[in-house]
Every structure is written in C-alpha cells, then in structure tokens.
Subunit: 234 residues, 2 copies
DNA sequence: GCCGGAGATTGGTTTGACCACTGATACGCG
DNA sequence: CGCGTATCAGTGGTCAAACCAATCTCCGGC
C-alpha cells in the first residue's frame, strides 16, 4: 500500500500549488484566494499555509502584497532563478571554482551570440561602462561597472534563462571576493585589456573572436582563483 | 536616514542566517539552536522563525529533522540547486526553448570534458542504459534511461555545479513533455543513433567529436520543440 | 465630478497549546 | 554483567485565536 504520510502538510501544500501552476490552472499575474481561504480549501491551518506561501515566495513563483493579496509572479526566468544566487553566496572552496568554470562555458557562448545582435546603442553603453571602470576609485564602484559590462552583453544574447544564470553566477558577494584580491595585485590593467578585446570583437560583429576573448577573460579569473585558494574562504 | 523597516521580520531572519553562513559562522553539517531559541535570539515569534527556516529549507541550505533538530546541509551544489528545477517545471512557451538552448551550450561542454575522464566502468554503464532504452516499453521507462545516460556523462565531467544545473534543466516534468511528443512521431530511432554517436566519441576519447555529437543531439530536441510549440503548453 | 476619510479586506505577527518523532537514559530481564 | 526495552525529556510539526498594519473600496461632502 501507499505508505508515506511522512510528508508534512506544508510540503503537500507547496506541491499542490506547483501542480496548479504546471497545469496552467494558475496563470502568471493571477491573484490567489486569501491565505485563510487557501488554508481552508487545502485543509490545513493558516500558519502552515503561510509557510507554504513563504516557500513559494522565495522560489519566486508567488508574491505576497501586504493588504492586497497573493499573486502569481510573471514566472519569468529572472524571477525564478533569483534563489540560484545563494549558491554563489554561501559556497566556498572548490565549489567557487566550479562556479567559475560553468561561467567559462556560458559567458563565451553569450558573447558570441551577442556579437551578432548588439546594436550601436549597446556598444555605446559598453564603452561607457569601460570608461567608468577605468575611472572608478573604490573597488565597490569598479565591481559595479564590471557587472554591468557583462550584463549588457548577456542581455544582448537574448536568452533570459542564460541571463539569469549568469547573473546568479556573478553574485555581488562572489564578485567582491575576486576583486578584493585583484586590488591587492594590481591586475586591473590586464583585466581592462581583456574587456577591450571583448569589445573589439563585438564591435566588428565577430562571434568567434568574441567567444575567444570572453573565454580568455574568464580563464584569467579561474587561474587567479586557482592560485589564490584562500580568497575562496572568506 | 535609513528608511525601510518595510522588510518583514521573516526576511530579516532569512538574511541573518544567510550571513552567518557566508561568514563561516555556521559550517556545513552543523546543528543550529532550536526554533524556540533562535526565535528568542532574533527577537521574533516562533511562527515567523519557522517561516524563515522553511524558506531556507527549500533553498537547500537547512534541513529540519523532526524531533532531532535543524542542521546546515553539506551546502553542496546538488543541495542548493534543487529549487532550480522549478523553473523547468512551471515554465512554458518560449522559456522552455530558452532552457533547451542553455542546455545546448552546457551539455556539449560536459561531454567534451567527459571524453577525457570517463573510464571503462562508465562506458559500460552507458552501454547498459542505451540497451535499456532500446528495450524500454513505456515512455516513462525510456525517459528514465535517457536521463541516466546523460547523467553519467555529466557526472564524469567532474563539475558538481555543472551537473546540478543540467539536472535541473532536465526535470522529469520537462523531459516527459518532449518524449511524449516523440512517441507520437516515432523519432526514437534517430535519437538512439544520436546517442550512439555520443558514445562512440566518448569511447575513442575524442573531446571534439563528443562536443559535436552532443550539440547535434540537443539541437534535434530544440528543433523539434520549435516545430511543435504546442508541446510547450501542456 | 473630485476628493477624502471611514470601514472592510487581507497579509504580517504574536502567543500558547498540543501532537509526533527522536534520542538518550534508566530500568529490568536473562 | 550485558543487552534489549520502556520511558521520558527535547525538538520539530500543527493548530487555533487573536491583534496589528497595509491596502482597497465605497460612500458622502464639497
């Protein structure tokens, strides 16, 4: 016989709502019944129902607005993959290296695709970020422009899922660790040169060169992390 | 002035624990204080504290064992990226296509790496899965072996983060959608042939061929989905 | 017709009680 | 003495009933 009442009521509620979502019974943006009603319908207490809602909220599928109600999010990759970022936040050691290695696969692919799609306005924005980076004083500031530089490229690749994953792979926490180390070694010039290479490839609409330049760029980060494992443990 | 006490107490608790994790104050496998104690320490009610714990649980960061206590997970990619799978479960339409496109980038890279690392035992396991797939009756059964086939390769690539992402990208829900459609068109033979190509490349330890064969394989899926958009809406 | 405020609605938070599972301790049997 | 078992304290799981704090709605006055 079926023998597993071992699941908590909250877990069942979570599964229940996910199923409604997968089946299309709940559409993006749609409003759900109130907590009290949901609890009654699923036959559990409001407390437990709230736990389920909270879980789905952090997953990015639901959004609770105080006083207004509970809504299904747009269910776009960006919403759903936000939690992905925690892996970059709480990981250390070897896992951080693995993170970079995945980025080394994705970022070049994104750059290659972007090479064929980035328009003049995009190139202009890239130049702006590059200049801002060179002019930046604080490490914090430089990291911000670095992130933006890569995000523009990622966005131009036109794949929201890819964009969200790369975004997560580059959590501020993670990025800050690397750049803090960079600052101690004055490797900024080399990094700026790598960005220049990427930009040049994009400007000449050359996917292969863009792919290569991006790979070189990320490899530099990977190498640095390999040589400075202690940076992964802070 | 700082002006946003608009964050819920639960959100603060979540952040608090994540910070303790990032700083190393909480180590993998470690046991946390009881819910009651935690609630008191952070100055909130047990209900709210439980919501925070539930949230961290679904993120794969904490694990609550009934009667035993709350523990930090091993914090390995597999644990943390489990939620990632929801995107594959609740997404539809264009997003599903974007999902496959990301897989088209990652899977070939994984196959190429695996070509240099897969040992004889691994090859043997691949042959087993291939045979089982051909012999499979139900779609359900075939999907299972298909998944296992790819998982063996991914595992051989030796990057847990990459493995976890690909695992998520291939949620059973998602995979079932495709194969259900495949069954209607009898494209199994072609798929089997693609697997044969991948296997041959791996056996001859040829990264480039493996990369190519995997790309072809995933492209076939992508093409099929492009031609059958209605499959994405079930 | 527009504006503002009172009241209803709904999520946010707290409290306290009880249930269900786990693990360790102490007991009793062989 | 050794081992199995019964007991029980500790801990997470669930429920209930309030009250608080945003938000929305609708009605009345200007």
């Amino acid at each position: 016989m079926a023998e597993e009442p071992r699941v908590t009521v909250t877990a069942r509620a979570i599964e229940h709502i996910k199923t409604m979502l997968a089946s299309g019974e709940l559409a993006p943006g749609q409003r759900l019944p109130t907590e009290r009603v949901l609890a009654a319908e699923l036959g559990l207490s409001r407390s437990s129902m709230r736990e389920a809602i909270r879980a789905l909220t952090v997953m990015g599928v639901l959004e609770a607005r105080h006083g207004a109600g509970i809504y299904v999010t747009r269910l776009e990759p960006g919403d759903l993959l936000e939690t992905f970022g925690v892996v970059a936040e709480v990981s250390r050691g070897e896992t951080l290296l693995d993170l970079v290695r995945v980025r080394k696969i994705l970022e070049p692919a994104a750059a290659a695709t972007a090479a064929a799609r980035l328009d003049d306005a995009g190139l202009e924005r890239l130049r702006t970020e590059m200049a801002a980076m060179r002019a930046g004083d604080t490490s914090e500031e430089i990291v911000g422009h670095d992130l933006e530089f890569h995000r523009i490229i990622t966005e131009a690749a036109g794949n929201p899922v890819l964009g969200a994953i790369l975004e997560a792979l580059n959590g501020r926490t993670f990025r800050a660790r690397v750049w803090r180390g960079y600052a101690d070694e004055n490797v900024f010039p080399q990094t700026f040169a790598e960005h220049d290479r990427i930009y040049a490839a994009l400007e000449s609409r050359d996917p292969e060169s863009a792919h290569l330049a991006a790979a070189v760029h990320i490899s530099a980060v990977e190498d640095w992390m390999s040589r400075n494992p202690e940076a992964a443990d802070r």
